[in-house]
């Protein structure tokens, strides 16, 4: 069966639904282009902020067996310098047809707007507001993604500063109701959602009794994150059915990408997979996705999108489970 992986995201054509996740490779035009050549229909730059940042001392990233834990600390050259990187990437990506997503963060609501305005000079295809990095907590207090109110305030400020570039807002998993937060940012003007950022965690070295990351806590990514990201995407799709979602978190195989589409994602983020399977991961996942779709008689990613929300019904409902015996089992 002949597969078209091309996907329409906010009316922009992406050669494939795969998106290089922010913070993975996205520190230079060279690496952004490499990801596009490997099979990403869109590539996201490393989040940049208002001022240059050094990031955290090492260790900043660990493999704990079922996933990764990182606290890189958002090192970046600052928005002004970032513009050159983005402009170079935009030009180099044009012949490949892949879209450029410019990711950024800030310390205040107003600064989100200012940084967006600076990055807009490079004319990225999309802006992505990282309001969810768990690793700059102590510095900025609770991430803006933690509450619907703060998430909406940031969104509104960015849309006011840069109304003409579609805005993706990236949400965090460590909230009790991500659907409500998605509704709030959409109401405030977000054009799309990226879900999810990493889940805060901690790993301790027994011999020293110390947290291993210099930042102590970090964000969990990789395989352990997949059921969390699937659940978040599923709930966001229920909450804002018509808003496109970049489903990111733990996607390591083509099968994982299929699950993410079924949960309701329009595009699928790729991050830690390039550690687990090497730089070839992007191409492998693209080919596995195409192979799965064709072997199951689907001609495009759209064909499976949101499938998990269309449930079969039976004329015979299942029996309710029995009440537990009052005095425990025999």
């Amino acid at each position: 069966m002949d597969i078209r992986l091309a996907t329409s995201f906010l009316r922009r054509r992406l050669p494939t639904p795969l998106v290089l996740a922010s913070g993975i490779w996205g520190t230079s035009a060279t690496l952004l282009v490499r990801a596009a050549q490997a099979g990403c229909g869109a590539v996201t730059s490393k989040s940049c902020g208002p001022e240059p940042r050094r990031g955290h001392v090492n260790p900043t990233c660990l493999d704990w067996g079922h996933g990764l834990l990182n606290a890189i600390g958002l090192p970046n050259p600052g928005a002004e310098a970032e513009v050159a990187i983005l402009a170079a990437a935009k030009a180099a990506l044009a012949p490949l047809g892949s879209a450029l997503i410019a990711s950024f963060f800030a310390d205040t609501v107003a600064n989100f707007g200012r940084v967006a305005a600076v990055l807009a000079q490079a004319e990225p295809d999309f802006l992505e507001a990282n309001i969810s990095c768990p690793n700059v907590h102590s510095e900025f207090g609770e991430p803006f993604a933690a509450r619907a109110e703060s998430a909406a305030a940031v969104t509104a400020a960015i849309k006011e500063a840069v109304p003409h570039i579609p805005l993706i807002v990236k949400l965090a998993p460590d909230v009790p109701d991500i659907g409500r937060i998605a509704q709030a940012v959409v109401a405030a003007g977000a054009d799309a959602i990226c879900a999810i950022n990493t889940m805060p965690g901690l790993i301790i070295d027994l011999e020293s009794g110390q947290p291993i990351l210099a930042n102590r806590r970090g964000g969990i990514s990789g395989p352990a994150l997949l059921p969390i990201s699937l659940r978040c995407v599923y709930e966001i799709h229920q909450a804002v059915p018509h808003v496109p979602i970049i489903g990111t978190g733990g996607v390591t195989t083509g099968a994982d990408a299929v699950a993410m589409l079924m949960a309701g994602a329009t595009a699928v983020g790729i991050g830690s997979a390039v550690y687990y399977r090497g730089p070839e991961a992007i191409t492998l996942i693209r080919d596995e996705l195409a192979a799965w779709l064709s072997s199951h008689g689907y001609t495009s990613p759209e064909a499976v999108r949101g499938l998990a929300h269309r449930e079969p019904v039976y004329d015979l409902p299942p029996s309710p489970p029995p009440f537990p015996a009052a005095h425990g089992p025999v």
Binding site: G55, N70, P75, D205, I212, G250, T253, Y275
Partner: protein, 248 residues
Amino acid sequence: MSAVVLPPMLPQATRIEAIRTENAQTKTLVLAARWQAEPGQFLLAWLPRHDEKPFSLVDADPVTITVAAVGPFTRLLHRLQPGARLWLRGPLGRGFVLGGQRPLLVGGGYGVAPLWFLARRAVATGATVTAVIGARTAADLLFVDRLAGLGVHVMVTTEDGSRGQKGLVTDAVAPLLAAGAVDGLYGCGPHGMLVALARLAQRYGIPAQLSWEAYMRCGLGLCGSCEHAGRLLCQEGPVLSVPLGCQC
């Protein structure tokens, strides 16, 4: 639903078994760990709540590193006594791949460390090994006598001429390449030296493998911090081939 997971790669606590002072600012630490690794691969050494830094393997069995004291972390390493603990992740990255029968090893500063490891492998295969070792002064030279003792033809250059030929390693390397005396170049050292070596290798059409340095963060091929010419040194390096792509 994900299938692919590697075994955990957390820092493993080990102890310093022996320490040798190489020169005023350089010490070699022999550690109580035994790995299988290639010359040119590196490890990450961690001191809890301080920092974690990369060092080239001088030997894998037992794991051995040679450390130049240039700042806080390396100074702390120099203070450690035998029996003290050090935490390691590794072996990491891709090392040198020996090819040909007349390798030329070119090292500057502590860049000689991985070449001393490579030389032992090369001699073991019966290759005819030449080495050009450079430093600022005679006092800064590393591994010269041990390389000679191995039967390697060693040429020395110092910037002040206090030992061997006065000048830079490239001054000694160019004629060797011109004469076609070697069939492969393996280099490690400061950035400027590597750039010059890459140019020489391409001019004389000799395949080269150079070990580059960059500030490393994740060490897993994710963050982009260690990029060199589009490659991630922590995962696809630190040794890269010239011309890129060819594995000589």
